[in-house]
């Protein structure tokens, strides 16, 4: 359903799941123009289902989902889901983002320039002709980011963008996303990394079958919310004004 609403997207008391099994229940969430959020929660909590609701690839079994008219979304998938043996160069991959806009197989001069500009900006302009598997994890993440950005989205949705990358790459991706947010793109991502990723974002949504809590890191990363979400009491310290969770299970878990 699309409509004139104050937010980009609104979930109102939504239930959703697969083949009759409800994964998320009674979820209400607004996504605004200036949103920069992380969805956190344990494996199987419904994080990816929430992203799919936002993207419109999962239909709600109850409640309503309303989108602003003309809303353009783009999605960056988990690297683990990609077929890396597919014959595809970096350039061809990024150009896919324009699949619905042109019927011609080859790129126009303007598209070629735009792909080049985006890849240069993301620091992988020199890898355009390389096969996608020849890139490192961070470079692959940037390639998919370029494919998403070529759609000029209002809302960018990323599934585990820092899964399987080292600390430096995570830092780079976080800064890149912060720059895009400053430029006016709303961003929602999922992460298992509470300390290295989520605590640095302005807004968190804590999920376990429903939304347990949402708000700033200091409001969400608390022992009570974490106990409701992860089922165990965890200690939360403060470091440089950021909450720091003292429990390995929230930083080491990698499954979606």
């Amino acid at each position: 359903m699309s409509a004139h609403i104050g937010s980009l997207l609104r979930l109102d008391r939504v239930d959703a799941g697969y083949d009759g099994t409800v994964v998320l229940r009674d979820v209400s969430l607004d996504v605004y123009d200036n949103q920069f959020s992380a969805v956190v929660g344990p494996s199987g909590a419904g994080k990816t289902t929430l992203l799919r609701l936002l993207l419109g690839t999962v239909k709600p079994s109850g409640g309503t989902v309303r989108r602003r008219d003309g809303l353009r979304t783009a999605y960056v998938p988990q690297l683990e889901t990609v077929n890396w043996d597919f014959p595809l160069t970096v350039f061809e991959c990024v150009l896919m983002g324009r699949a619905s806009r042109s019927a011609l197989p080859w790129p126009s001069r303007e598209e070629r320039a735009e792909v080049g500009r985006l890849l240069e900006r993301l620091g992988i302009g020199h890898l355009q002709r390389r096969h996608i598997r020849e890139l490192s994890g961070g470079q692959q993440q940037r390639m998919f980011l370029a494919r998403a950005l070529i759609r000029r989205p209002h809302l960018l949705v990323l599934d585990e963008p820092t899964s399987g990358v080292d600390a430096n790459t995570r830092h780079d991706i976080l800064h890149l996303l912060a720059d895009l947010h400053v430029e006016g793109i709303a961003i929602i991502l999922t992460t298992h990394d509470l300390n290295g990723m989520a605590a640095h974002l302005p807004h968190l949504v804590c999920v376990k079958g429903t939304i347990i809590a949402q708000g700033g890191p200091s409001d969400v990363i608390t022992p009570d919310v974490l106990e409701q979400t992860y089922g165990a009491r965890m200690e939360v310290l403060r470091h440089l004004d950021l909450p720091l969770v003292v429990d390995p299970r929230v930083t080491l878990a990698t499954a979606g």
Partner: protein
């Protein structure tokens, strides 16, 4: 050199060979082109399955009319392909299992009907092993039409087909109609198999859907180049196979597939060397 030229030119004086060469080359190119999408979707077995399903359709449609068998088999094949998509999408069954159930059931039904009521149309043998020299003018026109349709659709839906094949979930979010693209591909595949069945036969059509694409994949890392190479390898396999079939006096279908297999073996050897060379070049890039 003269002997080689003579071997090329001499068979061309026969009209049946000219027709066979044209049909074999076009069929190889067509199956190579479509096969790229099929193999990359992990559906290599569908060529084998659908060719058997269409064979069942041949048999069943003869019950209605000997003249109707081609259209009947076509409709039968398209319905089988759509049934595979439906079963795969609506139920928790993998594509390989859906292909196995739908196509073998279709094949079995056709054979049962044929055995019970008897055949009136083309022979079993020509459908099983191909009968390129016995192909009618109508079947050649059909091959032209299917080739033109396939190339046109691959051209105008190139980006959507690529996106839906590589990453259907993200393609759907990005405005690509994945279901429509999947249905289009299955219909084109059914028509491809139907129109080439008389060239290489039921048992070998699946091989020509798989061998040129996987051979091309080993020679390049680009999707566009894979499409072109698979089409060229398929066409060359058809042409060279037809010549060797003539000189060795063996069925054209088997020779076409054997030439494809030789190309695959050569590519395998070359790809190993390319990979080693690339591995020596890549590490400097693979740094975040």
């Amino acid at each position: 050199m003269d002997a080689f030229l003579d071997a090329i030119v001499h068979p061309l004086q026969y009209a049946f060979f000219q027709k066979g060469l044209l049909v074999a080359t076009l069929s190889g190119a067509l199956l190579g082109l479509t096969g790229v999408y099929i193999t990359l979707r992990g559906m290599s077995y569908i060529g084998h399955g659908l060719s058997h399903s269409i064979f069942g359709g041949f048999a069943a449609s003869q019950l209605i009319s000997a003249q109707f068998f081609l259209w009947g088999a076509g409709v039968w094949g398209v319905m089988s392909a759509l049934a595979i998509i439906t079963v795969t999408r609506r139920h928790r069954i993998g594509a390989d299992a859906a292909i196995g159930v739908v196509t073998t059931a279709s094949f079995a039904l056709g054979i049962a009907l044929l055995t019970h009521f008897g055949a009136t149309g083309p022979s079993f043998e020509s459908a099983l092993f191909g009968s390129i020299l016995g192909i009618s003018q109508g079947q050649i026109y059909m091959l032209y039409a299917v080739a033109a349709l396939t190339v046109t659709l691959v051209f105008v839906r190139y980006r959507a087909l690529l996106f839906a094949t590589f990453d259907p979930d993200v393609a759907a979010v990005s405005g690509v109609s994945v279901l429509a693209t999947d249905i289009m591909l299955m219909v084109v595949l059914s028509l491809n198999i139907l129109s080439t069945l008389n060239v290489v036969g039921v048992t070998l059509v699946a091989a020509m859907l798989v061998i040129p694409p996987v051979t091309a994949r080993m020679l390049t890392d680009s999707f566009a180049a894979t499409l072109v190479l698979a089409t060229v390898i398929g066409a060359l396999s058809g042409a060279i196979g037809m010549y060797l079939s003539y000189s060795a006096e063996v069925p054209s279908g088997t020779m076409i597939v054997l030439i494809g297999a030789v190309a695959f073996t050569l590519a395998l050897a070359t790809a190993g060397r390319r990979r080693r060379l690339r591995a020596a070049r890549v590490p400097a890039v693979a740094v975040s």
